[in-house]
Symmetry: C2
Subunit: 211 residues, 2 copies
């Protein structure tokens, strides 16, 4: 549903082709909303049918023709309408957390390897995003409202990555060369009990919630 609005938001800045939008997304909103080519083209077709954008063909030499899409007044209205709606409970669908949640179904070796390489990946990603943030901040003239919000979303994502990294490092017991943290060895009190996770049982991991 929201890809519509990501596209409208980008088109509200300037007209673009489907391909331009694809690149724009992989450059600017990739950490928020990713979309593949077909999805973008499909959504553009729908937006056109709904009268939110208009399209005109532009012949190019050496390249295929492209369709330039321009946002209409109706499209702008839809965008503002979307932005004024209350924020829905975000659809939680996190494959990484799912893998962790069911981590006991993989061998210890495999899960350490997978979480380790995931940690490396988000560390690189975060470093890159932080460099971007620094670059934008060092760059004066960023007083545009648009940029302020873009920076905020970037900062939030960075903070979330950092939080995840900390938890992963703690879990993996700092088997890494970069952080050199003090290894926490907690004395485990070796108690035993019979309360395990029961799917529909009494020891709930979290509360019962309607819907």
């Amino acid at each position: 549903m929201s890809l519509r609005f990501a596209l409208l938001g980008l088109l509200a800045v300037e007209p673009a082709s489907g391909y331009d939008l694809k690149r724009a997304i992989s450059r600017s909103t990739y950490f928020i909303w990713n979309a593949t080519g077909p999805q973008i083209y499909n959504t553009l077709h729908k937006l056109r049918e709904e009268g939110c954008i208009t399209s005109r063909s532009l012949a190019q030499d050496g390249k295929p023709d492209k369709q330039i899409h321009t946002i209409t007044a109706r499209g702008r209205a839809r965008l503002e309408e979307f932005m004024s709606e209350p924020i829905r409970a975000s659809v939680t669908r996190d494959e990484v957390l799912l893998r962790i949640f069911f981590g006991n179904f993989a061998s210890k070796k495999v899960i350490r390897r997978e979480l380790g390489s995931y940690l490396e990946r988000i560390r690189r990603e975060r470093a890159y995003m932080e460099a971007t943030e620094a670059r934008i901040n060092a760059h004066p003239g960023s007083k545009h409202e648009a940029r302020r919000f873009q920076l905020l979303s970037l900062r939030i994502k960075v903070a979330q990555y950092r939080a995840m990294e900390q938890e992963l490092v703690r879990f993996l017991g700092d088997g890494d060369r970069e952080t050199r943290l003090v290894k926490l060895r907690r004395h485990r009190r070796g108690a035993s009990a019979k309360n395990t996770l029961r799917i529909a049982g009494s020891t709930r991991l979290v509360r019962n919630r309607s819907n």
Copy 2:
């Protein structure tokens, strides 16, 4: 795709009906992977066709019959196979961040109101999750591997919420009674420049990335 594995993961603990699974998900994995009724039933049908689960009817008195689904050896193999695959670049699809990214298309009042109420929501959610975590930790006998991983995913989500809260509080200028943080007022050097965000232009927010 991963709902299959969430269901298999839950069924690997104990057999359950579709309804049980729905409740289990809204109790235990709701912060990771949510699913609606029809989706669960559909996926169960597919899993049965694939031979990953078997189902038998169980008559109950006072209630409708239910179908108890049990994971098969094949299902367990599929689950372990899934768990051994490399973690894919997680599909980023965050409506909240999208709303923030395009925040300039809403009025200041609206965005402050929406972010404020979102902040309240995740604060409550986090408090609840932390209470759950404390309850589980206070509860010895949690030496089960399964529970360790469940706790880890819970902790990661909590840490991510906390990170987001901090950024939101900072952005909203601490108009809240709970945290009483020192208001950071940064002296802005009032420079001007003409480099704005151009969608396909040279001042990229982030790098160009394949795919």
